[in-house]
Amino acid sequence: MDITLDRLFLRIGGFELRANCRLESNRAFALIGPSGEGKTTLLQAIAGFLSPVSGRIEFGGRDFTNIRPSERPTTILFQEHNLFPHVSVYNNAALGVRTDLRLSKVQRHHVISVLDRVGLSGLRDRMPGELSGGQRQRVALARALLRSQPVLLLDEPFAALGPGLRKEMLDLVAEIRAEYIITLVMVTHEPADALRIADYTLLICKGRVSPPSDTQEFFAHPSVELKSYLGL
């Protein structure tokens, strides 16, 4: 499902951000830029946690600007606190199917197979506190898949993981994206992450979002802003 940010204008406190671009359907996009420049803010607005001052957000050509988060075709993974700490792994994932946790037999099997798919078979009855950081984000990923929304937003959920584990998680996301046909938008400050799985990259700098560019091109021929961000 494609995403259109139509003359979007966001403001939090004194901070302002403008974006005007279209993100193609079923592709992976990386949002890169210095910290404090509004990468997370933009993602929050796409997910519906922040109302824009002006402009529109469209999914698949339909206006969603004033639609609440649960009615949008999006799922977002935060950097942390993606799980309810007193709810088991299985139930945390199952919340993506029904929030009252009354699942049919078919739905229960589906939850189990998705947990298996993200590599959590055998950990279903654990509590989040008993999991490693990577495992916790796998549960969150499983819930995202169970929600089966066509747009997946990643707000650096793997930033706190070691480099090896982070690559592993990114590869898992890439595989899943191909399987489930998902439009992916991920925030990162690591060019390597973008190069690993993003088709296109957008640079956020000085309150503006640049239009998406082909990731390989983007880093092969860096713009002035990108050069200054990368310290080249």
Binding site: F49, L50, S51, P69, F78, E80, H86, L95, T99, R143
Partner: protein, 527 residues
């Protein structure tokens, strides 16, 4: 990690620990020696029905006060947490005000609103209904909820704001209904914080004296504290007073142990903010409930405060002559007790902070436990201790100052300890590696980073001492008074107008002292 302590701090810390032990353990030991009847060492052992009734009423009113405060605090904290409105920050700060309000002043304010000739009765009468009366259990509960609903609200509000914002967004995203959200987000938080708040408030109410003195009394509304007071002042039955005080002490320790076992940090600070859009809160009924909760809180806490001002301000010129020496006495006691408690509190906190984890925690717990004795318990012990040698009534001023400083110590340690821990943690290695010792370490490192919290805690100690109506009631001879005692005596003599004037004077003096110390701590301070 333990490091070699600065000898000056170690010395002051040891002195503080000994002082705390002396001020509490000696009086309690005196009670023990004098409790012949309770401990069955005397032939005429007997517990009267009145004593049992006092014990029952103590626990009953503590339980009800705590339960009502915590239950009402939940919708109020929820409303404050999720709404943005004009004056929200101010409201949160004002929630701390009843804590510094002298109890007798609050009673005057509550009577002006809820009393037989108060505002509500006036409205009821003009509408053709009966007057209401708030003496007895209902008055005690009303006053305790007035003091502790704001406290419970602050505790629960802080717990609410500790729920990660991500969890609310997550609930929003997966479309949780309000009831599912309550079940997964809010109920677990309440389950973890509410019992601690309940116990803390029950502890406070179980040893509350001035409220019961002013609004309780009689066979049906006498607490242990009041029974102790009456045993000494009316019957001069010191053995009975000692026994009752020992029971009261046991209750205090029992509650304090449970509170400490829960080990919940009760914060005083703000930093409560909300920065996300919650869509489900915008349904009409949700807005109505929240508006009702916030409005009720403002009316319940604000009307008595307003009454203190409105009823008192015109009566300031009519104050009787005994008010002024009483004001001087109150200020002298406050200054003396603040100096002692802040000095000891600083020494104790820095000492605890520089000890390694286990002994540090042990000393902290000891100081809390030792001080879970109520003023009346310590006062009774001191009375028995002094009585064979001098007339306790001649020592009202120094004894009151001493007990007041002991009472504010746990609070002072709670305020100073986090700052001390931070200072030791951040600068300790630097101080050690540079070899800064003795007085220069205190002057260059500790005092600059502690003067602001020390000023704040001195303000609290001074305000609490100004408003205290506990041990002074026990010791004061008829010709001696502090300002709270004057208010109480005027009230008892049905000179309500003068009592209201004196109450306003008292609250102004308390807050003036608080602000003077708090400002003093921050003046010319750049850290």
């Amino acid at each position: 990690m333990a490091r070699r302590a600065n000898p000056l701090i170690a010395l002051a810390g040891a002195a503080a620990i000994i002082a705390v032990a002396l001020v509490t353990l000696v009086p309690v030991a005196t009670l023990w020696i004098n409790s012949d009847r309770l401990l069955g060492r005397s032939a005429e052992f007997e517990v009267s029905a009145a004593d049992i009734a006092a014990l029952r009423f103590t626990l009953l009113q503590a339980f009800l006060s705590a339960a009502i405060s915590v239950v009402l605090a939940v919708p109020v904290a929820r409303a404050i947490f999720r709404r943005k409105f004009f004056g929200r920050e101010l409201l949160i700060s004002v929630l701390g005000a009843p804590f510094l309000l002298p109890v007798i002043v609050a009673v005057i304010g509550l009577l002006a609103v809820w009393g037989r000739s108060g505002w509500i009765s006036a409205v009821l009468i003009s509408a053709g209904y009966e007057r209401i009366s708030i003496y007895g259990l209902s008055g005690v509960l009303l006053a305790h909820v007035f003091f502790n609903l704001p406290l419970a609200t602050r505790i629960i509000l802080q717990a609410w704001s500790r729920i990660p914002a991500e969890h609310f967004r997550l609930a929003e995203q997966i479309g949780m209904s309000p009831s599912d959200q309550f079940r997964h987000l809010e109920w677990p938080m309440l389950r973890s914080v509410a019992p601690g708040a309940f116990l803390l408030i029950a502890l406070i109410c179980a040893s509350s004296f001035a409220v019961v003195l002013a609004l309780g009394g009689g066979p049906r509304a006498t607490t242990l504290e009041l029974a102790i007071f009456e045993a000494i002042r009316f019957d001069f039955d010191l053995g009975r007073a000692a026994s009752l005080a020992l029971v009261q002490f046991a209750i205090g320790v029992a509650f304090a142990v449970v509170v400490l076992a829960g080990n919940r940090e009760i914060g005083f600070g703000g930093g409560i903010q909300l920065n996300f859009e919650n869509w489900s809160k915008n349904r009409t009924w949700a807005i109505a409930i929240d508006a009702f909760a916030i409005g009720s809180l403002i009316a319940f806490v604000g009307l008595p405060l307003l009454a203190i001002f409105l009823e008192g301000v015109g009566k300031l010129p009519t104050l009787p002559p005994e008010t002024w020496p009483a004001l001087i006495n109150s200020i002298s006691i406050a200054m003396l007790s603040t100096a002692v408690s802040v000095f000891l509190g600083l020494a104790l906190s820095v000492r605890i902070a520089s000890l390694s984890r286990f002994p540090g925690r042990a000393v902290e717990i000891f100081s809390m436990l030792a001080l879970s004795a109520s003023p009346l318990v310590i006062g009774t012990g001191l009375f028995l201790l002094l009585q064979p040698f001098v007339s306790p009534f001649n020592l009202a001023l120094p004894v009151t100052a001493l007990v007041n400083s002991a009472m504010s110590m746990p609070l002072i340690v709670r305020i100073l300890l986090p700052a001390c821990r931070r200072t030791v943690e951040v600068y300790g290695p630097l101080v050690d590696s540079l070899g800064i010792r003795g007085w220069s370490a205190i002057r260059l490192v500790y005092w600059p980073s502690l003067r602001s919290p020390a000023g704040f805690s001195a303000g609290i100690a001074a305000a609490l001492s100004m408003g205290d109506l506990g041990v002074v009631a026990l010791f004061a001879p008829p010709e001696f008074a502090t300002l709270p005692l004057v208010v109480y005596r005027l009230m008892g003599a049905y000179r309500t107008d003068q009592a209201e004037g004196a109450a306003l004077l008292l609250v102004m003096a308390s807050f003036a002292l608080f602000f003077a110390f708090d400002r003093g701590g921050r003046l010319g301070h750049h850290a």
